[in-house]
């Protein structure tokens, strides 16, 4: 079974979570396929933007509970194992990917599906989509980066409310709260997300990668450390081919042609 579809065009890899009959919820095999596709994105310099979306009516319903073989009367399962082996590496790899990652949230994003979407660099949601931190209703903790990203995106009060209640959050509300970049009408989602992805694929990817790294680092750095980091990254960015191209295009009043290096 192909649980992950991937397609590369114009420098954009579109990665589609593809278990529509199970609302694209994760099982181990799907995680393994996703990891393989991520390896390709990491290695291939011609891919300059990653676009993640879901097949069918959902974005992703998180962990497939059927796959965890929960036996209410049996021994306690080790949920930490799938977090350690699958979800944590996934989030670390997306955060470390030196190119923009866009989530096009086409429908419900629940559990790890919601936290995965919110962990992407740019989130565009269909108006009918919603985010559900469903973990707490089962006695669990938001994983897949949820407890780290939520307070940073929504602020502590809203993060607490969302995570403790586990209620549905509409795409509109998520947008009003500044948790996601954009909400569009359902039929416009594909085009809007694709347009943004194609735009990124023509931009100075090396520089964008450094911007992303710097913003991520700012979450733990002091001002002083961050200023040093800005100096270091600016030094590296100033040596990139794209910076030269950007400056010469500006001076010659023409459109720059960036190579991503």
């Amino acid at each position: 079974m192909t649980f992950i579809l991937s397609d590369v065009q114009n420098g954009v890899m579109t990665l589609t979570l593809n278990r529509p009959e199970r609302l694209n919820s994760f099982n181990d095999e799907m995680h393994r396929q996703l990891a393989d596709v991520l390896t390709q994105v990491e290695r291939d310099d011609t891919i300059r933007c990653l676009l993640i979306t879901g097949a069918g009516r959902a974005f992703c319903a998180g962990q497939d509970l059927n796959d965890r073989n929960v036996d209410p009367s049996g021994a306690a399962p080790d949920l930490g194992a799938s977090v350690e082996n699958f979800y944590n590496p996934l989030i670390k790899r997306l955060a470390a990917l030196p190119k923009p990652v866009i989530a096009a949230v086409n429908g419900v994003a629940a559990g790890a599906g919601a936290t995965l979407a919110l962990g992407c660099d740019m989130v565009i949601a269909a108006r009918s989509a919603n985010f559900i931190m469903s973990f707490s209703k089962l006695g669990l903790v938001p994983d897949c980066g949820g407890t780290w990203y939520l307070p940073r995106l929504a602020g502590r009060a809203r993060a607490m409310g969302l995570a403790l209640l586990g209620d549905k959050l509409s795409a509109e509300q998520a947008h009003q709260w500044g948790m996601i970049w954009q909400v569009v009408d359902d039929e416009a989602l594909n085009d809007t997300a694709r347009q943004l992805a194609v735009h990124f694929a023509s931009q100075p990817t090396f520089g964008l990668g450094l911007v992303k790294k710097a913003l991520n680092a700012s979450e733990t750095n002091t001002l002083e450390e961050q200023l040093d980091l800005e100096r270091d990254y600016q030094r590296m960015a100033g040596r990139s081919e794209d910076y030269r191209e950007g400056v010469s295009a500006f001076l010659a009043k023409r459109t720059p042609v960036f190579k991503g290096k």
Binding site: D232, Y233, R235, M236
Partner: protein, 255 residues
């Protein structure tokens, strides 16, 4: 192409481990070349400090296992390797390691032998010897515990698992972490800054710092004072203090 590239820039000598096909594994021949280069640098008045580095992915990923596997117990007893390490350690000028990527086993031991370790954010430090049924044999167990403390040292040596540059910095193994693309540049800058100082003062300070792990505190303090007194007899000390008072850069002569 030589397995050890040597380049001098101003007062800084840079030694680049260059066995990419062997992940810069430190065989006896390479250790010998490092020792020879350092012995030459020690004699050379125009070298003030030395930087040892590898490539983007590997500082040095260990010893040469094929070389080691061929040695039985008697052969290991008379292995020339400890002498090679001792020659490297005898170097009396500031020695910096610019580590990108893996510094494992002997690679980690070489980095720890250096006075200052600068690490790229992609660096990994580890002593995986235990996974091969052996143990660190060139200072790994001794220098590690002195810099990172008991908890981290036992964990690393007994599990063989590597730590990240950030962990290494927090633990005190690494002086400064920088983006990998800038590690060598920043190390050479630091080395150049160090190399401006009076050579005899650098040598005395390095000797005193090394003694800190050999002597008791009172012996160390006494030894420090001897070295301090020794510097009082140098021309460079007069020059250094005079230049400071006259608000001008000092011109040291190494005397």
């Amino acid at each position: 192409m030589s397995e050890l590239l040597v380049s001098q820039n101003g007062r800084v000598l840079t030694l680049t481990l260059n066995r990419p096909e062997a992940r810069n594994a430190l065989n006896n021949a390479l250790l010998d070349q490092i020792a020879l280069a350092l012995e030459a640098a020690q004699q050379n008045e125009s070298t003030g400090a030395v930087v040892i580095t590898g490539n983007d992915r590997f500082f040095a990923a260990g010893a040469d296992l094929k070389e080691m596997a061929s040695l039985d117990m008697p052969a290991t007893l008379n292995d020339p390797r400890p002498q090679l390490w001792a020659r490297i350690e005898r170097f009396n000028k500031p020695l910096l390691a610019a580590v990108n990527g893996y510094a494992l086993g002997a690679g980690c031991e070489l980095a720890m032998l250096c006075d200052i370790v600068m690490a790229g954010d992609n660096a990994r430090f580890g002593l995986p010897e235990i996974t091969l049924g052996i143990m660190p044999g060139a200072g790994g167990t001794q220098r590690l515990i002195r810099s990172v403390g008991k908890a981290m040292a036992y964990k690393m040596v007994l599990t063989g698992k590597a730590i990240t540059a950030q962990q290494a910095q927090q633990a005190g193994l690494v002086a400064e972490m920088c983006p990998a693309a800038l590690t060598l540049e920043y190390s050479e800058k630091l080395a150049a800054r160090i190399a401006q100082h009076a050579p005899l003062a650098l040598q005395a300070a390095k000797t005193a710092l090394r003694q800190a792990h050999e002597l008791s505190l009172s012996q160390g303090l006494a030894h420090e004072r001897q070295l301090f007194t020794l510097l009082a007899a140098t021309e460079d000390r007069q020059e250094g203090i005079a230049a400071f008072l006259e608000k001008r850069p000092a011109a040291f002569k190494g005397r």
